[in-house]
């Protein structure tokens, strides 16, 4: 049954997701923007540049990839927002991270469901890299 309660519940959920998002996005955004003004980000970017070029992303984006895979998507969103990527780069990093994110947490869930967590992490990582290479050529 559809009632006013439905809309109210949806609205409150939306506000609560936005709040949870803000709690992670804001500190990460501040941190990455700060690092942009120091040599630290350039240094890390230089190390990852060759690997990132394979998927058409700048070295700086490695910080968003690492945050997304090891922490969660919200942290990656904060970093991506600060990096000013092009639309093509945003689409590539979005698909890569949507396929492969929050590995420590989500592989634990898979493990509990009787699926090898390490194997799933490996499959997702491989798919993510393949998708990145493909989109870099196709877009």
């Amino acid at each position: 049954m559809l009632t006013g309660q439905t809309i109210r519940r949806g609205f409150l959920k939306g506000v609560s997701v936005t709040w949870e998002l803000a709690k992670v996005v804001v500190p990460v955004y501040v941190l990455v923007t700060f690092l942009k003004h120091t040599p630290a980000l350039k240094y890390v970017a230089g190390i990852f540049e060759p690997a990132m070029r394979l998927v058409g992303l700048p070295g700086e984006a490695s910080i968003a990839v690492v945050l997304g895979m090891l922490a969660n998507l919200y942290a990656a969103l904060g970093a991506i927002a600060s990096l000013n990527l092009s639309p093509k780069e945003t689409t590539i990093i979005a698909l890569m991270l949507l396929i492969c994110h929050s590995l420590p947490m989500e592989t634990a869930v898979a493990q509990r469901a009787g699926v090898s967590g390490a194997l799933m992490a490996l499959i997702r990582l491989a798919l993510s890299v393949m998708a990145g290479i493909f989109l870099n050529i196709a877009l």
Partner: protein
Amino acid sequence: MWGPLDWGPFILEVGRGIAFNLLIMASIIIPIMILLEIARDLKLLDRFSKKMAPGLKIFGMSPEASFPLLTGFFFGISYGAGVIIEAARSGRISWKDMFLINVFLSVCHAVIEDTALFIALGADPLVIVAGRLVLALAVTYLVSCTKYVAMNDRKRC
């Protein structure tokens, strides 16, 4: 060169960036969550999952796997987990169903909410939804053909 940080422009950049990004995210997330709740209360998923159930034969899955699979696909793993655990407890779905649901969902879950967040940042919605769906279908199909799945098929979960 690395000199002392200019705090004025830094604070301005951070303040503007945060306000701008959070505003866009909220303006996309809130309507999407309302739509998801409407879909839930209209039980759209029930109807859709019945229509889709026969298609699961391609993966050797039973029609009962359809509802938990779609719940995780649209609403995400944390919400879908309840439905999946319920289905497993009631004994309606086999080990193979459970295993393949997990394989599919680890690549592709919460498509509405997660996709919306990246659209807010300027990603192409069609590419990120279709890309993920195609890869999840392909991996699930390949895994369903492996000896490992055939060997464990008789097991119940």
